[in-house]
């Protein structure tokens, strides 16, 4: 799977962002993308290749009623990237897991109604009804985004408090980094995640954990 580093470099390119935006609507083929974006097929193919190599998109071949089969490109089913930056929160997440609808409906039982409406939408032949469903869903998306921001803000306050506490402690820069990551993640990051986050090796993380333990700052 691509690292967030690679993804950012990929997404720094406007054409690639536009291709992804179009593929998020539905699968498309090279000529189609080339015409829609008014960019040569060779260049489009090169962008598609780069994104395929990183596992962001994939291709499948579909038989046509007439003529030879056509190669379609789509975003990988399991691909998901989220990026948030705000005054006290910086987070890049790349997932490759599916969501669990049952767990979500248990936590948010009211979503069952949305789900039903969307399911029924398949039989709807009117744009106006689709617009109304989309209206409700967009409102909920706004609400839930705000709630997410709220939780992120609370997390950032806890992080700030962690910094304040550390000021009174006799720790070196590396111990500070590791401790901060442990506390702010709630203690659920593994050695490898701490290493990636703090940009140090796993051996160094282990050494730092030992010294934090010796200083009686953490238990293991």
């Amino acid at each position: 799977m691509a690292t967030s580093e690679e993804l950012f470099n990929i997404l720094g390119n406007e054409t690639r962002r536009m291709i992804l935006e179009l593929l998020a609507e539905r699968p498309r083929y090279t000529t189609e993308l080339s015409e829609m974006l008014d960019i040569g097929q060779k260049a489009i193919n090169e962008h598609l290749r780069i994104m395929r190599d990183l596992g962001i998109i994939e291709l499948y071949v579909e038989k046509q009623q007439r003529g030879s089969p056509r190669k379609y490109f789509k975003i990988q089913d399991s691909f998901r990237m989220e990026f948030t930056i705000s005054p006290h929160f910086f987070d890049i997440d790349v997932f490759d897991s599916e969501i669990d609808p049952a767990a979500i409906l248990e936590r948010f039982p009211e979503y069952e109604e949305y789900r039903k409406k969307v399911e029924e939408a398949r039989k709807i032949a009117r744009m106006e009804e689709l617009r109304q469903i989309a209206y409700g869903l967009n409102k909920e998306l706004e609400r839930i985004s705000q709630a997410k921001t709220y939780i992120e803000n609370l997390i950032s306050q806890v992080r700030g408090q962690c910094f304040t506490l550390m000021e009174g402690m006799d720790l070196d820069e590396r111990e500070r980094k590791v401790l901060f990551d442990i506390v702010s993640s709630g203690g659920k990051s593994g050695i490898d995640e701490i290493a990636e986050k703090c940009k140090i090796g796993e051996e160094e993380v282990k050494k730092t954990l030992r010294s934090l333990k010796e200083k009686n700052v953490i238990r293991v």
Copy 2:
């Protein structure tokens, strides 16, 4: 305010992402950033200038107990950027508005407990308690992110349905684009937003809306 276009170009640079990550923890001064990232002050200052020009970060001067006042950099209070990409969803949002805690607590009354815990954390002198609070908050963040994904998936299904409906309609490419944007946003985007999304001028949007009305596809 910076466009999402400009922001992506800004964030395509690793050093700038690292600077923002550090500033999201707390305000910092140039020498501090330079030492932490092991990058010359001149380069750091140039990155800071670019991000200041775009309104992502700001500076303030703080008197020191000893020596001359120091320039601190922080992420602008009102700045927030969110970026999501998944198989059926592509969205870049740049906000410059504050959230409304009262409205959130009304919709999610259980967050009041989180809020209290974090408030009480100011009096807590123990890392372990902070870690526990962070643990609960991170779990809720995961849950709410999943719920957000769920709603996004429902929206993408409605979008797909909109595409299917349009296939049976006699529309040109521009009418399709505008209609798609109206329906999938729930009809709440203004002329300017439609223009930005469809990458056409506002006059063209108005013209397209008229022709869609004449074809009896929309009412105004």
